[in-house]
């Protein structure tokens, strides 16, 4: 429960490029896969598979990478960067090979 609470605080309070897309306090998902990718990462953090801070760091890098060429026109959307970050972190943790999902 404590870990869940920690994760919730950390997820809700991400800043800058990692901040969750939102409208009037509600989360914004455009496609169902975005919702699913969001839930997988949060759930894994809640279960202690990784710390939220580890995922957040990966996400920040992934978002920055997408904005490197043109910050106004990132090469991929927020949840695509989210998915890339998730895959990379799981790869690092040897929990899957990215090749297996692509």
């Amino acid at each position: 429960m404590n870990r869940q609470r920690t994760a919730r605080t950390e997820v809700a309070e991400m800043e800058g490029g990692a901040a969750l897309p939102r409208k009037s306090g509600e989360m914004v998902f455009h496609e169902n896969w975005e919702r699913q990718a969001f839930a997988i990462a949060v759930n894994l953090a809640e279960r202690g598979v990784f710390a939220w801070s580890e995922f957040q760091q990966q996400l920040i890098e992934s978002v920055a990478e997408a904005e490197r060429e043109d910050a106004l026109n990132p090469s991929r959307g927020y949840y695509e960067s989210w998915l890339v970050a998730l895959e990379r972190l799981l790869e690092k943790k040897k929990l899957l090979s990215t090749a297996a999902v692509e």
Binding site: K23, V28, E31, L83, V101
Partner: protein, 228 residues
């Protein structure tokens, strides 16, 4: 401020799963215009990831649904609106709320912050309260959801302290000269939110009808609750 129009694809009218598209604002994080094929590929990629993690016993459909439910439906300004409506109809609850907001809010089943306390400040005919976080963007998100972009703007964070009445006027809120304006600076330890004044002509409304009147901005204190 980065702003980019998202090119909206024409969605079939019946696709309710995608209704967010219509009210979602141009969002810097959604600038990539994906084709249907790309979305299909991404969707399959996530499904494969989920299947793999399910196999390993690391996630389950049930747990994932709960996460989505919590973040998408339970963590939003609606929670705060319910707290406000309860305080308007139940004087005992209001007293507990003003005394120990964290505990009173937990009575309604909302919470989730760790050590941080929530503090409720009441608007009256004499006092108008407004909330800011001058250092960063501390926010009572278990009751208000995720903060609006302007709440994080340096302009709001500094100007609301220096000249609250001008900023309030920009939001269309103009407390009279005889009303004291108080600005509350949130921190990592204390998250403030505002109990707005109950509008007139609402004596006949039920608690849930009252909750529907309460907008996020009124609980930050930059707006009033408009009557029905």
């Amino acid at each position: 401020m980065r702003q980019q129009e998202k090119q909206h694809r024409q969605e079939p009218e019946t696709d309710l799963s995608d209704h967010h598209d219509h009210d979602a604002p141009a969002n810097p994080y959604h600038t990539s215009d994906r084709s249907e094929d790309q979305d299909k590929a991404l969707s399959e990629r996530v499904a494969r990831l989920e299947a793999l993690l399910t196999q390993k016993g690391l996630v389950s459909r049930d747990a994932l649904d709960k996460v989505v439910d919590l973040y998408e439906h339970d963590l939003g300004p609606m929670n705060g609106a319910k707290v406000v409506a309860r305080a308007w109809v139940d004087p005992g609850f209001k007293e507990r709320l003003l005394e120990n907001a964290t505990a009173a809010i937990a009575e309604l089943g909302f919470g989730g912050l760790q050590g941080e306390h929530m503090v409720v400040v009441e608007n009256t005919a004499q006092v108008h309260n407004v909330v800011v976080c001058t250092l960063c963007s501390c926010y009572p998100w278990p009751v208000l959801g995720l903060p609006p972009a302007w709440y994080k703007d340096a302009a709001y964070r500094s100007r609301i302290v220096i000249d609250p009445r001008s900023v309030l006027a920009e939001f269309g809120t103009e407390p009279g000269d005889d009303v004291e304006v108080r600005v509350w600076d949130s921190s990592a330890e204390v998250r403030y939110f505002v109990l707005p004044e109950r509008p007139e002509n609402t004596a006949n409304l039920t608690e849930s009808e009252l909750a529907e009147l309460v907008e996020r901005d009124a609980m930050i204190g930059v707006a009033r609750v408009a009557g029905p």
